[in-house]
Every structure is written in structure tokens, then in C-alpha cells.
Amino acid sequence: MRPLADAITWPLPTSFQPSVTTWTRGAAADDRSERAGDETGPGTKLAFERLARESIPSLYGMARRLVGDAAEDLVQECLMRAYRSFGTLEDPQAGLAWMQRILVNAFRDRLRKEARSVSEVPVEEVDEFSLYRTLADEDPLPYSDSLHVDFLHSFGREDVHAVLLRLPEIYRAPLVLRYMQGFSTKEIARLLEAPLGTVLARLHRGRKLFEKELWAYAKETDLLRSRAER
């Protein structure tokens, strides 16, 4: 692989350097040449490194939910993009949110590049399923006093991860961004460059598919057997 240092040089190109009116704190900080000896101010490589290092665990967790095993690749792409556009970060206090948005952008572009056509799941198909009712009817944990909660608590972190990866990306992404990462639906629509109505419809289908897949996974992997025997 080509060394990254060869691909991108520091200091940043002029077009990426911050302006005094955006994110620097004070006029003196705007002049990089004056700051040659100050490696800690906003916009310096050190500031970028600090933000990037702090953000890596959170970005990785988010990427794992979005793309599974390709998470490290996606975070790398995000870090390189963030490095190139660090000068556009207006509020250093909102650095993590800024990085997360870059990660989602990279994810969206990756999807487009792969150009996989995914057909929408008909809403009637998913609406018929209710995990709540299925659990009540099948009663897979006969000794449980709180069946529905205990069912969910049977899933470990890796199980949830596996269930999420069963969902087509177009449904997984809004679900992860809304309910795991806390983005608003409007923000998701903006980041994924999709109409709000499309995002809402996919969220609905994604939730129902997630319920269906939780149940299917539990049955296929005998997840509940050990718990039921306890």
C-alpha cells in the first residue's frame, strides 16, 4: 500500500486551511507560519491527531454496526477524509459528531460505488410479523416471568451484531444511525442523501425485519435452549 504520508502532506493545502472566521480561536492562530513552533493549537496536526485518536473507538463501533468486518477499512477512509478536510471543522467541541458524519458519508459513497441493487421489502410482508405476539404464542422460555425482556437479554453483543448483518444495508443503516447512534431522521436523510419519506419507510421496514431476524436467529442457533433449561 502506498504510504499515507506520501499521499497527503502536512501542512494542509491552502484550500483546506481554516479561516479566522470559522474555527480558529483568535487572529494569531490563523497564521500557520507564525505558529510553526506551536503544534498544539486548533488546526494543527497535533489537534487533528488528538481528535482522531479520541474518536477511533466510537467510529469503529459505529462502522462495525454499519459494515461488519469491513469496519477497519471504513474507519481508515473516514480518518483520511477527516484529515483532508480538517480545516472545515467549525466547532472543535463538536469534533466527534463531525467525524461521525464523515464516516456516514464514506459509508454512503461506498454503497453507491458497489452499486448493488437491493429490492425493497414489501411493507405487507413485514407488517404481518410481530415479535411480541410470536413470543407470546410460542412461549420459548416457559419458566420466565418476563418472557419478552428475557428473550432480548438472551442476545449477546455478537448475536446482535450477527442479526444486524442479516438486514440489507438499506434497512440496516437507518436503524443503526437512528436507534444505536441517536441521529435524527432528518439528519439521516441528509447524510444518506435520501428523501425523508424514504428514510422513514426504510426505518419502519428495518425495525420489522430486525424483529423477524431476532426470532429467526434465536431459533436457528438454539440461543434460547440453554436459557430455557436453566
Binding site: 504520508a5 477511533i56 469503529y60 462495525r64 481508515q76 411480541y132 451484531h161 441517536g182
Partner: protein, 78 residues
Amino acid sequence: MTERMIPCSEAVRQLWDYLDQRLTAREQADLEGHLAFCRRCCGELEFAKELQRFLASHGAEEIPPDVKEHLERLVDDL
């Protein structure tokens, strides 16, 4: 506002939007009218809340040390 009687299928379809406060005043009144007498849909609502908590609690994930180290090295090399 007089609420409209809605069937369980419609009520269940609206539960997550209700929790996300995305229903219109009219839709909210209809749904709450339904929930006032339908025990099963109240159960569905509680389960929807539980599922939201479940999803929120699984958002974070420990990063493996070798991956973290690799990504930090990449930051240093940029």
C-alpha cells in the same frame, strides 16, 4: 377532538412513530384512544420501548487492541 377507532394492525404500525413523537396530533389521539382499551397493543408498546432500549444499549463496541493500534499508527503516518 373526537378520536377515530383504529384497528390493532394500524395501532401497531404507528407505535415506533409514537415513541419518536412523529405522529400528528390527530394520529396520536387515535392511537391513545386505541391503547386505552387494547391490552395487547399496550404490551406491543412496552415491547417497542424495550426494543429501543435494547438497540441503544448495543450501539457501542470494544475495539480490538490490534485494530486500535493499527488505526492510531495510520493517524501518526498521515
